[in-house]
């Protein structure tokens, strides 16, 4: 069952599809219903979406729009109530818990709103904790260099500012050279100036490593740096917008 709107917007995708036609994620008819006590919450009401290799996508929506749920499903943290999610050829909805763990371990990089660093590990070690379990990681030092923290390697989270902590989190996410980078409100806890530094780091990773990046945010300002902006409203994709002219992070305002 195709959503009429989706038909529309997928035409807009055409130029990008022509350039990078390999689909990393293929989402088909995904719904998600939560049982909250005695109330059913329809977080996703039928999502069809493709994310393409190397693109920088922003999933934009108000709180409660279902964007986090979608990201969690893409990241293998949650399963849809109905529908299928394909990662390449693999159907994530059929994966076992341990297959999902492996999926996250080898293919996905996560960046969280509240950084979620390990307080007992230094910046370098927070990255190493992931590289130690991945297949072809870059060195933690290099990853931190990439996000501009080459001089803060041996600082503990408590000794770093919020922006620095988030950049450590990005370094941690990319050090394993993931196929996709999923960022949940990465600037949500930061002031705009610091946020820009973080976004620059994300863009740099996207450009230099070619990592498919999906950022969810409720901040429309950020959307202008994306290849595509996927608008979510009440559990549905309301609009997909392709940015002809992407802005550099430092040009963004919010």
């Amino acid at each position: 069952m195709h959503h009429p709107l989706h038909q529309n917007v997928s035409n807009l995708d055409a130029p990008l599809q022509a350039k990078d036609h390999i689909s990393v994620f293929h989402v088909k008819g995904v719904t998600k219903v939560y049982q909250m006590g005695e109330v059913q919450v329809h977080a996703l009401r039928g999502i069809d979406l493709d994310l393409y290799q190397g693109e920088f996508a922003v999933l934009l929506g108000a709180s409660g729009s279902g964007k986090s749920t979608l990201l969690n499903i893409l990241g293998g943290l949650d399963a849809p109530t109905t529908g299928d999610v394909f990662y390449g050829q693999r159907n994530l909805t059929r994966a076992t818990e341990s297959e999902l763990t492996d999926y996250r371990r080898y293919h996905v990089g996560f960046v969280f709103q509240f950084y979620n660093l390990i307080p007992s590990l230094t910046a370098r070690e927070n990255v190493a904790v992931v590289t130690e379990i991945s297949r072809a990681p870059i060195k933690p030092e290099e990853a931190l260099q990439l996000v501009g923290l080459g001089d803060r390697l041996d600082h503990f989270p408590a000794q770093l500012s919020g922006g620095e902590q988030q950049r450590v989190a990005i370094a941690r996410a990319i050090a394993k050279q993931p196929d996709v980078l999923l960022c949940d409100e990465p600037t949500g806890a930061l002031d705009s100036q610091t946020g820009i530094v973080v976004l620059e780091a994300l863009q740099r990773v996207n450009q230099e490593l070619g990592t498919t990046t999906a950022v969810i945010t409720h901040n429309a300002g950020i959307a202008q740096m994306a290849n595509r902006v996927i608008h979510l409203t009440d559990g549905l994709i309301s609009q997909i917008q392709v940015n002809k002219h992407r802005l550099a992070p430092h040009e963004l305002t919010w």
Binding site: N72, L77, N116
Partner: protein, 787 residues
């Protein structure tokens, strides 16, 4: 119910497993406290009631023979209330179908049972017909061991003449609550008993008509016991008195008193451990709860709840957990106390057991638990009480970590990040880590006490009977006999070795201290009794001077080279000064040894012996028994090995009960500490671990970080715990030391192994329970919350 109280109940329900684990530790403390103290009170009350009802005497004295008229003069000693005289003989008994030597004390009962001291307690059958010359009453344990009932017959060698006797009933006596043969170390109901017989036939058999050879008396209130003893000794001296002694030197009374002392020690040592551990866990758990509820506390305060109300709110939670522990502990403690009292009733020949649970013991248990719990959680409760609302609204500042020692040493490359997380987490809160380790070690240490007893007894027996006393049989003569009599023993078929000994009761004095025991004259370089030094190597007995039991040296504060005064309590009662030549390691009894000939010279007698040690070829053992029974001069034969065996049988049940209880208690501590620590760690690090799960860590890898810390602490705790257990056993051994026996500090390897094993198993059970919690780590929630 107020809303806040509802919150409390729900929270208690939410943390029920943790609350239960803490309550279990409190149960441990309370139940041991109740068990030991109620056992002490019960044993004490029972003994007192028994003594009172049956007129247990205050003073006891044996003599050779004195006319009845002497009792008048004894009664005239100021302070004496009542005097009772009897005839007592030590005889060989022949029970059909039982070949081993059996000895008994034959005690005369007067015609009328009213008014006399040390009254017997008739358990079954009837009292003696006073004119009957062949009726007897048997001590219950002995009768039961041989299945002798009213109407059963046995024979005794009374003053060299064999006599057939008919059992008419079973009895108990306050004098023989602990029934032990002279010279024996353990009770052996098969081979030693008490037999009561009418005065007339017994007296006539021993030529004691109109005379007595044993006297007991009660004292009036306020009289000076020592004065009476001195005057009594003076009176009995011409009649061969061997020295009067009070209850505190009466064997049966002594054993019971030691037992009471031990229970009191248990009642203090163990509850301290349990309450300490409970306070620690409560502290950890409440601290965590309060830090999780910072925002709620802030809200409550913002709406006008006072600091006290908030502090009291959490205080009530602590009290609820403690109450569960106290109530269950009182129940279980009472159950265990009754169990212990019953074991004691069986082990000691008590006619009844008054189980006493004093209200003040229960109140003390509750008050101590509550006080300790409140003291333990005071800091956490204060934190809740004084937390300013605005500060409570903000999340707690992030934890600060520092490079650890290993890193400062440059060894970090050896450790993976998860391992570093473990080590840093331990290092960040060294006190908490230490206390957790200490708590687990306490579990390990407590466990060891249960197994300690058995190993100690084994060692005691091995040293005493394997290395020191190596005879198979001890034959005791009716009276000192010429050394030549040993030939007839040596000539018995199957007897391989015979060594005679001379033993006399004596009072030993050094400075103002004194001790009553017997001086043993033994054969120098003998094989059947060897004195051992502290390294268990045999000591040569010098020609001059005496070797004394090491514990006697401690008692009298005397050391080798000092002069010991010995007042012999037999014959013409000489007092001599002898040189203490050395000390010997002995675990049971307190003795003084000198060369037999030297003792004979001291007593101005020929080469007399009181008895002999025999080494017998096992093949001829039965024949030797029979031969010894038929020797009129031999009053009794003791066979140590079978006594030990029967002692073990009696002890087995007790030891099992102790092992069961200590295992239960030890594992409750181990589980309480480990499970709670893991739960707290899980709660504190929930976010961290869920993040790692999101990043692709497997459940096992996350579990490693969480459980690794506790695993490491548990591993550290085991050697520490074994050390603590060793110390605890050493302390108990030291506390339990008495002149009756010293408990050697010997711990078998399996005692250590078992303690460690129980701790490890408790840790594993906790880990399995936590492992299941780890499956429910909420990865989605953790991404959205800032804790």
């Amino acid at each position: 119910m107020k809303a806040l109280d509802k919150k409390l109940w729900r929270e208690l329900w939410g943390m029920r497993m943790q609350a239960l684990a803490i309550a279990m530790v409190i149960v441990g403390g309370v139940s041991i406290f109740i068990m030991s103290l109620s056992t002490v009170d019960s044993l004490f009350e029972t003994r007192e009631a028994y003594y009172r009802n049956n007129h247990f005497a205050n003073l006891f004295a044996s003599l050779k023979r004195a006319p009845l008229s002497l009792t008048k003069r004894i009664e005239e000693i100021p302070g004496v209330e009542r005097v009772d005289h009897r005839v007592i003989a030590y005889v060989n008994i022949d029970v059909a179908g039982f070949d081993d030597p059996v000895s008994a004390h034959l005690i005369s009962l007067p015609d009328s049972s009213s008014g006399l001291l040390n009254q017997i307690y008739l358990r079954s059958g009837r009292l003696l017909e006073h004119d009957s010359d062949n009726e007897i009453l048997l001590s219950e344990e002995f009768a039961r061991a041989h299945k002798l009932h009213s109407g059963s017959k046995l024979s005794a060698t009374i003053n060299g003449r064999r006599k057939s006797l008919t059992v008419v009933g079973h009895a108990l006596s306050p004098e023989y609550i602990y029934q032990i043969a002279p010279g024996a170390m353990f009770p052996d109901f098969m081979r030693y008993g008490i037999v009561w017989m009418a005065r007339k036939p017994l007296a006539s058999a021993y030529d004691m008509e109109g005379a007595f050879n044993n006297v007991t008396l009660t004292l009036s209130k306020g009289s000076n016991q020592q004065d009476v003893i001195d005057q009594l000794d003076e009176l009995l001296k011409p009649y061969g008195g061997t020295g009067a002694f009070g209850r505190k030197d009466q064997l049966s009374h002594r054993f019971l008193s030691e037992e009471l002392k031990q229970q009191k020690t248990i009642a203090t040592v163990f509850p301290i451990i349990f309450f300490g551990v409970a306070a620690f866990i409560l502290n950890v758990v409440t601290s965590r709860l309060i830090s999780l509820e910072r925002e709620q506390i802030a809200v409550l305060k913002a709406f006008g709840y006072s600091n006290f109300a908030v502090g009291w709110h959490y205080g009530k939670l602590v009290l609820m957990i403690v109450s569960i522990g106290v109530i269950a502990g009182i129940g279980i403690g009472t159950w265990m106390g009754k169990g212990m009292s019953n074991i004691y009733m069986e082990f000691y020949s008590l006619p009844f057991m008054i189980y006493v649970l004093k209200p003040q013991v229960v109140i003390a248990a509750a008050l101590i638990s509550i006080t300790v719990a409140i003291l333990g959680t005071l800091y956490a409760l204060r934190t809740a009480a004084v937390l300013p609302p605005a500060q409570g609204m903000r999340p707690e500042p992030p934890a600060i970590y520092r490079p650890i020692l290993i890193e400062r040493l440059g060894l970090q490359d050896w450790f993976s990040q998860p391992t570093r997380m473990i080590i840093r987490h331990i290092e960040r809160r060294p006190l908490k880590s230490f206390l957790t380790t200490l708590g687990i070690s306490m579990a390990c240490g407590t466990m060891m006490v249960g197994g300690f007893q058995e190993g100690a007894i084994n060692h005691m027996v091995e040293v005493q009977f394997g290395m020191s006393q190596r005879s198979d049989l001890t034959a005791i003569y009716t009276e000192p006999t010429s050394q030549r009599s040993l030939y007839s023993l040596r000539n018995l078929q199957g007897v391989e070795q015979v060594e005679g000994f001379r033993a006399v009761p004596a009072k030993l004095m050094f400075e103002h201290r004194f001790y009553r025991t017997s001086v043993q004259g033994i054969q120098p370089n003998g094989d059947l009794l060897r004195l051992l030094d502290t390294r268990l190597a045999p000591i040569d007995l010098p020609e001059q001077g005496v070797i004394i039991t090491d514990y006697l040296a401690e008692l009298l504060h005397i050391k080798p080279g000092d002069m010991l005064s010995i007042q012999v309590l037999e014959g013409n009662r000489p007092t001599v000064q002898v040189l203490v030549a050395g000390t010997a390691k002995e675990y049971m009894g307190v003795n003084v040894y000198m060369q037999r000939e030297a003792l004979n010279r001291l007593l101005k007698e020929g080469n007399a012996v009181s008895g002999a040690w025999l080494k017998v070829d096992p093949y001829y053992q039965k024949d030797v028994y029979v031969a010894l029974k038929n020797m009129p001069r031999i009053a009794g034969v003791i066979e140590q090995r079978s006594a030990i065996k029967s002692f073990y049988d009696t002890m087995a049940e007790t030891i099992l009960f102790f092992t069961f209880i200590s295992t239960l208690l030890g594992s409750s501590i181990a589980f309480g500490v480990i499970y709670n620590s893991m739960r707290i760690a899980l709660s504190e690090r929930n976010r961290e671990l869920a993040s790692l799960r999101v990043l692709g860590f497997r459940r096992s890898e996350v579990a490693y970080i969480l459980l690794g810390e506790l695993g490491l602490l548990t591993l550290l705790a085991i050697p520490l715990g074994l050390l603590i257990g060793y110390g605890l056993c050493a302390y108990l051994a030291f506390q339990f030391d008495s002149d009756l026996y010293r408990i050697p500090l010997v711990l078998d390897r399996d005692v250590f192994a078992f303690a460690a094993l129980v701790v490890i198993v408790s840790a594993l059970i906790s880990a399995v329970m936590i492992w299941r919690n780890l499956a429910h780590l909420d990865m989605v929630a953790v991404l959205k919350s800032k804790e």
